[in-house]
Symmetry: C2
């Protein structure tokens, strides 16, 4: 039998590479998120690659749009700019959702989960979130059940 709580045994253990927001995290911006709640970088449990999983959800319809990855700098940029900004593991660059496609992702709120290794972004997504042209990366055509 497995415990009901798979997370408890390591919840709250700070990661060695948690890092801190950069010095300019407090630079004034015109969005509602600004620098985020103090200490967020230490609250999160960055994985061995220094990342957390980020789930973007359309704030009003509830659609789960995409899953991507963030390091502390990507999340800092997201908070500072109000634009979904992620870390590409394959290309090893930051990318801003909609920067070339115009399908902008405005981030209204960021929450972490109970064990701090994932974040939920409540967003207002313009147009398709998926590069394939579907609204969500989890389009119903991609059902495996």
């Amino acid at each position: 039998m497995t415990p009901a709580d798979p997370h408890s045994e390591d919840a709250g253990v700070p990661s060695d590479d948690a890092g801190v927001p950069s010095d300019d995290a407090g630079v004034p911006s015109d969005n509602d998120l600004a620098a985020g709640r103090p200490g967020w970088a230490d609250t999160l449990r960055w994985n061995e690659s220094g990342l957390v999983c980020a789930v973007a959800q359309q704030h009003d319809t509830g659609e789960v749009l995409m899953v991507a990855w963030m390091d502390p700098e990507a999340l800092r940029r997201t908070l500072a700019t109000g634009r979904g900004t992620y870390w590409s593991r394959s290309r090893e660059v930051y990318w801003v959702k909609g920067e070339t496609s115009g399908n902008i992702q405005r981030v209204l709120e960021v929450r972490h989960d109970c064990d701090g290794d994932a974040v939920l972004l409540l967003v207002d997504q313009t147009g398709p979130a998926c590069h394939t042209g579907t609204r969500s990366c989890f389009d119903r055509s991609r059902s495996i059940s």
Copy 2:
């Protein structure tokens, strides 16, 4: 400037450790998912630890309940039993959501995302999905913005 499509460069590249469903994946079961669509294990892009990220969403309300991890066997069990079954990275065991708490997670549909490294589970979650007692692991008290 970053490309609009962060996923395309490696989308569809099969992972060496993609694996295949076990021999008993086709055993008749009393749920609607059964063995899933043939070839799903090869469609997914398992990471270097053999896992995909799994997002569980309440099918009717749209609540994002939790994020956990699955290897091919966890997903096979989920499909075969209709119960959310995950791989614990820290304890290195499979765990069935609600097995001890009673907060059962009935899985109605599984979709993968465009690059196949994440799955979305549409579920019917009994009670709290989070071991802390909150309905979602992403409770609004865990906002960092």
